[in-house]
Amino acid sequence: MTDLNTLEDNKSSLLERETVEVYIMGKKYTMPNSLTVMKGFEYAGYTLLRGCGCRAGFCGACATVYRVGKNHELKVGLACQTKVEQEMYLTQIPFYPHHRVSYHLEELRPTEDQVVEIYPEINKCLGCNSCTNVCPQDLKVMKYIAHAIRGEVSMVADESFDCLMCGLCASKCPANIVQYKVAILCRRLHSKYLVKKAEHLKRLSGRLESGEFNALLDELMQADKTTLAAKYNQRDIE
């Protein structure tokens, strides 16, 4: 364990890292430039409640807006995936609200006008491409909305697959489209109606219901550890 101390001693020489000045809700903080926006908030003493989720770029909870220095441009990103920069002006935005739309997937059909029927506002797309420009996943959002307008459900499903539903696209849309909701409707329509069902799954479920595996399962459930271990170690591997 003494070697750990040596490592500790070496730490300072390796830790010659730069600091940056960052403004959080107007107040200036000096922090290491190795932090993300999310960790920058915590470094400054904030406890995040809204705007913090998986912290690894999967859940889309931490959409953030910021400006840098004198640049007038309002930038966006995921707080857990965006590095702090010199003279960054930060705030965390709460979850972006969407309007409530209820549909029963069972009653829908993957027809050309199904998506427009549920989300008529997509026809008002101005083609400004703001949604694509802000997407932290680099999705071609405007492109998939164009597919949605044309009723190309499977194209939307494929193009939108990596969507985290963070809502940044909707926050920028001058036509008030909620792109990520359009996307999930299309993925569900596509998966339920436009791809074939897994027949092998149906067959296996049928065999299960007929009770075919009961005896084998019961035998395993009754078996002691030694028997189980023997069976386990001898099992054939595909």
């Binding site: 390796l14 406890t47 209820s102 399962l217 189980l228």
Partner: protein
């Protein structure tokens, strides 16, 4: 450029030895060597990192300090201010937790005609479920069967698993896959509808189903959409802080805490389902974690205070390859596929020290041993780690392999200016999963009547070690079962007029006092301790 000049110097050492390591397999450990490294270096074996819990249903059992700390803490809610006649909301089924298990439970309970409330402390869907990349296990192919799945689960769990729970898991699994298919979940399929399946660690058949590398996210967003479409009541940023019992000691509701207005609300419910997830964010033994912000063991704490027993809480799963650096993604998982493709762990001197495909627990222990020997590397952010020599992949399989086979990993590191094709990456074991939890029966019921638990918060199905792909299935199987049973039970309760009681919290606090426990913080903690997220804060919560 994220790697500092000092780190660049160290990388040279890895480059110098690369040619000599290429094409040579490091010897695998003998069974004795494995036992030795586990015993001496696996976190589960470090005796002084555990202690006997002082009170409650598991009194005397050996749990990690960090878990004991929250179990032995005073209640967060001021129980003296509770008035039994002040009920703010009444529902049939109260579901606490908004991840995959909670959503599945809500859908099934709602189908039974129950009035359902999902209360979740963060956003609906912010849970470990979305972070599961690899896939979901189910026997679905002709060469597979639930019985073969059963044996795999048992072997993986070292035969400690509770048979009834494993049976439920493997026999419901095909049904759950069909259910997801019907809900419009976008699984990887061939044109003829065949589900694509691959192996996972410890599987004897290819039964890992996936939705690209967003398997959990795809399942979660589909379930969430369905819950919202059905107008099921979801209350976000409302954490449950204490369960409520009726005059006969049956679960009958919970005290909810609005985390933004600081107000409390009393919810009366005929049945309660806890689907609150695990304890990763307690950062057991100071480990980084791959877990979600909300994984703070709240459900364990609440269930424990009403007398539900915990099982297998002395075993935690550590994944050997978590990111040590860049700091921005520290603790995040480096998929096992990186090693499958030939990247090997290497120490500060450029020497390999363990066969690269040892099992998770052994690889974890070997990396920790190397660091305690002083052969680890301190990263520019101050974290400890060893190299994972990823450029070997390009050398073995040809240029372009990393971008093609590991797009998500490659994107993740590139985002923070580390080119894993050219430079090795720094890794360290990360806390991944709580193998145990609240003991349940195969319908999700606990020893406390009308209290159900589902998902990572529950324990028994995985024994002492969970296999990859079985937790996504676990949350859905037991979420559905709990939802169904809780709704059926609720329907059978007529003339429901309980006298709500919080006496158990009071008794618990009094017992703590009689044991001489000092009040340092209260639990459930709801959010991770600040000092765990911010290394600049040197707070100490350990008693």
């Amino acid at each position: 450029m994220t790697y500092t000049p000092a780190i660049r110097e160290l990388i040279k050492q890895v480059e110098v030895t690369r040619d000599s390591r290429l094409g040579k397999d490091f010897p695998r450990m003998t069974p004795q060597e494995k036992q030795e490294v586990l015993k001496n270096h696996h976190p589960d074996y470090i005796e002084n990192q555990f202690r006997q819990v002082k009170l409650g249903p598991n009194k005397g059992d050996r749990f990690p300090h960090e878990l004991c700390d929250v179990l032995e803490a005073y209640p967060r809610y001021e129980y003296n201010s509770f008035h039994a006649d002040q009920v703010d909301r009444k529902v049939d089924v109260l579901i606490i937790g908004g991840g995959g298990a909670g959503a599945a439970a809500a859908l099934l309970a709602h189908e039974q005609g129950a009035s359902v409330l999902i209360a979740t402390k963060l956003r609906f869907g912010d849970a470990n479920t979305v972070m599961a990349q690899g896939g979901i296990q189910a026997a679905s192919k002709p060469e597979d069967s639930p019985a073969i799945h059963y044996l795999d689960v048992l072997g993986g769990g070292h035969y400690y698993n509770i048979p009834e729970l494993v049976k439920a898991l493997v026999t419901d699994a095909p049904k759950v896959m069909q259910w997801l298919e019907d809900l419009g979940c976008m699984f990887d399929k061939l044109d003829d509808g065949t589900l694509q399946t691959i192996h996972g660690g410890g599987t004897s058949r290819k039964r890992m189903h996936s939705a690209r590398d967003y398997s959990g996210a795809e399942i979660m967003r589909t379930l969430r959409d369905e819950v919202l479409c059905r107008d099921i009541d979801v209350c976000e940023f409302s954490a449950a802080v204490e369960l409520l019992l009726d005059e006969k000691g049956r679960a009958a509701g919970a005290v909810m805490y609005n985390m933004e207005t600081d107000q409390y609300e009393v919810v009366q419910a005929k049945t309660v389902i806890l689907a609150t997830g695990g304890l990763g964010r307690l950062h057991i033994q100071d480990f980084p974690t791959s877990n979600h912000y909300g994984a703070t063991a709240d459900g364990l704490v609440m269930a424990y205070r009403v007398g539900a027993k915990l099982v297998f809480m002395d075993t935690i799963q550590y994944h050997p390859t978590g990111v040590s650096y860049p700091e921005q993604v520290a603790g995040f998982l480096v998929t096992e596929k990186v090693r499958s493709l030939g990247a090997t762990p290497v120490n500060i001197d450029g020497e390999q020290f363990v066969y690269h495909l040892e099992t998770r627990d052994v690889a974890t222990s070997a990396i920790i041993r190397e660091c305690t020997r002083g052969k680890g590397v301190i990263s520019p952010s101050g974290s400890l780690g060893v190299w994972l020599d990823s450029p070997l992949i390009e050398r073995i399989h040809g240029e372009g392999t990393i971008a093609r086979e590991l797009p998500a990993m490659f994107r993740q590191f590139t985002r923070f200016s580390v080119d894993m094709r050219k430079d090795p990456i720094l890794i360290y074991p990360t806390l991944h999963y709580q193998n145990g939890g609240v003991l349940i029966r195969d319908n999700g019921e606990t020893s406390v009547e009308n209290l159900y638990v589902a998902g990572e918060a529950s324990g028994g199905v995985h024994g002492r070690n969970r296999l990859m792909g079985n937790s996504l299935m676990d949350i859905l199987v037991f979420g559905r079962r709990a939802g169904l049973s809780a709704a059926e039970k609720a329907a059978s309760i007529k003339d429901f007029a309980p006298r709500l009681s919080i006496e158990h919290a009071k008794n618990f606090a009094e017992e703590l006092e009689s044991l001489g426990e000092v009040k340092t913080f209260t639990s459930p903690i709801l959010l991770p301790f600040k000092h765990r997220l911010n290394p600049n804060l040197k707070q100490e919560h350990r008693k």
